[in-house]
């Protein structure tokens, strides 16, 4: 079982308290764009995923804890969490990820 650091509780808690919520930083198209979007663009938003083997940005939901969504960088080959950060924060740069690994 993974131990996951919730950036809102600021605590490491067991995986069973959390629900995985898919790849992070996929923005839902805004209302005006939706009218002009092609099928390919919709497909990209709905279905296409990076499915990265390596450092993956993803959402987690602390549903049996503080009930907040947050983002994480996790290595999908080792399942090791590199960092977690609050919703609304930008995707960490490579430099930030490197620093978090230390």
């Amino acid at each position: 079982m993974l131990l996951i650091h919730c950036p809102y509780c600021n605590k490491k808690r067991p995986e069973v308290e959390f629900a995985y919520a898919g790849e992070a930083h996929i923005e839902r198209p805004n209302g005006i764009n939706q009218l002009t979007m092609t099928d390919e663009e919709w497909s990209n938003f709905m279905f296409i995923r990076n499915n990265i083997r390596g450092e993956h940005a993803e959402r987690w939901w602390h549903n049996s804890g503080c009930n907040m969504f947050f983002n994480a960088i996790r290595n999908t080959q080792t399942d090791k969490f590199i960092m977690t950060y609050k919703m609304g924060e930008n995707l960490p740069t490579e430099k930030q990820i490197k620093a978090a690994k230390k």
Partner: protein
Amino acid sequence: MKFSAISLFANALSGHKKWPSQFPNKDPKKEYDVIIIGGGAHGLGAAYYLASKYGITNVAVLEKGWIGGGNTGRNTTIIRSNYLFDESAALYDHAVDLWDGLSQELNYNVMFSKRGVLMLAHNVHDVQSFKRHVYSNRLNDVDNQWLNPEECKEFCPPLDISSSRRYPVMGGALQMRAGTARHDSVAWGYARAASKLGVDIIQNCEVTGIRRDSLGNVAGVETAKGYLKSKKIGVSAAGNTSVVMEMAGLRFPLESYPLQALVSEPIKPVFPCVVMSNAVHAYISQSDKGELVIGAGTDQYTSYSQRGALHLQEHNLMSICEIFPIFKRMRMLRSWGGVVDVTPDRSPIVGKTPVGGLYVNCGWGTGGFKATPGAANMLAYTIKHNEPHKINAPFNLDRFIGGRLIDEAAAAAVAH
């Protein structure tokens, strides 16, 4: 050499010390007509059918580890075709048709045992949904029948059908043509048969890049053993399909999840069939070695680590003990995990890609083993003709743009 009663007898006389190796370990040639990436049973099968049915023998199968070491060797070997939709029924039933004669065709015993798969209904919704499956299957000429609780008990004696249980058995859908097979034998059998027809099986040869020509079509692959030219490449890389496709600049509607299974210590024959329960969330069968083979759903997060969390196994075993209290004191022998590539509609993708000369067979999610011969044949057909067969045509990549999904997720099982 051909396996037969005579060869078995002759080798018994020499103490089974003179069996030749089943296929040679080869170094790659510089150029192939077709390269298959992924030496699981799907990839080896595709190479075999290319050589045997479609007359292309200058084929290489590239495997980064050892053949059959991925999901082929990590599944729970269940074979069935009782899928709801017409497209799925056709695809999976085609596979079962090929399973039927596979041991003879390959001259290799894949131990396909049609012991029947029983899917239990525990509530009114299950009953309605499974009966719908049965009727739909019958319209598609797929064998499936409805059993009442007493008939279920008769078919599978370890079952407890008393109405006092938390999840009472209200009936079940039984597919008699379904069953299990020996997974390793499928990989080895295809490898041996393909190799005999001239296919090169190259292990420890990871693909690191896909080169494309000036028109954008594939030109060859970079591998751990150097650059290999080929104008046609079939990708059969299961959980790692997204990684391989990225080499060709494609993003796929796939996510890779860990899927775990476990076996108990071996015991005498006690369990005659395969039983699945979607409501309680587990399935079970007994291998020929005597181990109870148990599985359920995937872990919740994407991962390539080939292992999952312990609490999922606990949940899985709780479900088994709920349905079969007689197994409460069994001890588990080992557990393992594979990486399964799951599509948004839980149906596979078999066909062409936007890149010329690049073909794919992926997205089988938690249920690829049962489809092995069918998927392999469809990939081989598509590579040969540069057009999909009518069976795999609906399973194209474009359905995620056009919206014609084959949404088995809502109807299908926990475990496929």
